[in-house]
């Protein structure tokens, strides 16, 4: 209860620090989500509708990568971007960009694996017809993505949920540096480590409220579009 009222206070007093952190959280998560969706959705679809040797293995790999520990992803991106690493010259470590990269790496397999599942079942229905019409490759992928768009929103929301809630990877590559790379989750971890559990929980409540907003928005738009279409 304390946490909720504290969260409320933070929001209505328009606490400047809070908004800076919140905005960075949104920016990083949405950027990563965009990258992950642009790669993951076609990838998952492609794997659902084409048959080639090694396909099963690719799907297996996606499922495994879904279970990739954020800390490990963070470490790998860290090593890649650190001054001694191959991309060190870009000087990206401990920047929002680094966090976006790490999160994109983390979420892409999730979106790919989940969309693979969704498209797989649509494919059971469409495959014969598409084969007959000679629809293959990019056209087929596009058609599946369009026709499954409502079901795919859940995959995307799952990816968003993972991104916005994630702390292990962003703290390693971002460093939780105040006014630079501090996001909601790393701030929560910090307050926890300071023992400010109430503040930590209230930040959590704010983050959940954000999540609620985004989800309500997406689901609302989906429902509206669906209704218009089948009215």
């Amino acid at each position: 209860m304390d946490a909720l009222s504290e969260a409320f206070r933070l929001i209505i007093t328009l606490d400047e620090d809070l908004f800076e952190i919140l905005w960075l959280s949104i920016r990083v998560s949405l950027s990563a989500l965009t990258i992950a969706a642009v790669i993951g959705l076609p990838l998952g679809t492609y794997l659902a509708i084409t048959r080639f040797p090694g396909r099963k293995f690719c799907i297996l790999l996606l499922n495994v990568l879904m279970g990739m520990p954020p800390v490990v992803v963070g470490l790998m991106v860290y090593l890649l971007l650190s001054r001694a690493g191959p991309l060190g010259w870009m000087g990206l470590l401990y920047s929002p960009t680094a966090m976006i990269i790490a999160q994109a790496v983390l979420i892409t397999p999730i979106i790919a694996a989940l969309s693979n599942q969704v498209i797989e079942s649509l494919h059971q229905e469409y495959s014969d017809t598409f084969y007959s019409m000679g629809v293959t490759g990019g056209r087929a992928v596009a058609a599946y993505l369009v026709d499954a768009r409502y079901a795919l929103t859940t995959c995307i929301l799952a990816g968003f949920g993972r991104a916005i809630a994630e702390v292990g990877a962003v703290i390693i590559v971002g460093g939780n540096i105040d006014h630079l790379t501090r996001v909601m989750t790393t701030a929560i971890a910090l307050e926890t480590s300071k023992g400010n559990l109430t503040l930590a929980l209230s930040l959590g409540a704010v983050l959940l409220a954000l999540s609620l907003l985004v989800n309500a928005l997406v689901i609302g738009v989906r429902e509206y579009a669906q209704k218009r279409q089948y009215a």
Binding site: L93, I172, G175, L180, T186, A189, L190, S193, K194
Partner: protein, 242 residues
């Protein structure tokens, strides 16, 4: 159960088996920053506190949460930084001067920013040097809001200066091109203490075990064991139980 950030130094891995052999008590270590450790203990989630922020510990005892506090051992803080040493710390004669040189050189400084004992120490140093570090937060003053190890990872990677306890630094494996640039100043003295949690406040506390452990740590056996712990040929902690 006990809490502190001495875990990274490997002291516990060395000490606890000896303790178990001598007293039969098995200790579970929950390693978090001093701030969180104290607050956890205030919720009775712990039997024994082993941290390094004397004023906070004394307040803990004064508020009735701790039974009493004993000095246990000390080590010291050092400032590490890139070998190139752009702020010329090697040439600083005292800590205050060192801090001012860092600020003036435009180099980066990575702070833990987590209210830990080390962080509190560092803030007092800035204050002594009359520098408002918060004004540079996010630019040259980087508050990582993390533990010592994570802060070292960040600092080393960014060629920043970092204030760290010697024990953690010696054990730290990702040093890259960073070295100790400033050390041995009396102002960088770091005292650790043990505080058993008060059984009056927390009835569930494992009082006898906490007492046994405290006694053992402060005993000659415990103290010499602490003193004998070395990494890379260097002692990390210096026993000074009272």
């Amino acid at each position: 159960q006990s809490t502190t950030s001495t875990q990274n130094s490997g002291l516990y891995d060395y000490l606890l088996p000896m303790l178990k052999e001598d007293t039969g008590v098995r200790v579970n270590v929950v390693a978090v920053g001093t701030g969180q450790a104290i607050k956890n203990a205030m919720r009775c989630d712990g039997d024994l506190l082993l941290v390094h922020s004397q004023p906070a510990e004394e307040a803990f005892v004064a508020d009735g949460y701790g039974a009493y506090r004993r000095d246990l051992m000390y080590n010291d803080y050092v400032i590490i930084g890139p070998e190139a040493d752009p702020a010329n710390l090697a040439g600083a004669s005292n800590v205050t001067e060192a801090m001012q040189q860092i600020k003036q050189s435009g180099a980066k400084f990575a702070s833990r920013g987590d209210d830990s004992g080390t962080h509190k120490k560092e803030r007092s140093l800035w204050q002594a040097a009359a520098i408002d570090s918060d004004a540079g937060s996010g630019q040259w003053y980087l508050e990582t809001g993390s533990g010592m190890g994570a802060t070292l990872n960040t600092g080393v990677s960014l060629s920043a200066y970092v204030l760290t306890d010697r024990a953690t630094w010696i054990k730290f494996a990702n040093k890259q091109d960073a070295i100790i640039l400033f050390e041995g100043n009396p102002a960088l003295f770091n005292q650790y203490g043990v505080t058993p949690v008060n059984a009056d406040k927390c009835p569930n506390v494992n009082r006898e075990a906490a007492e046994i452990v405290t006694q053992w740590l402060a005993s000659d056996i415990g103290q010499s064991a602490i003193g004998a712990y070395q990494v890379d040929g260097e002692p990390l902690f210096f026993p000074n139980a009272n």
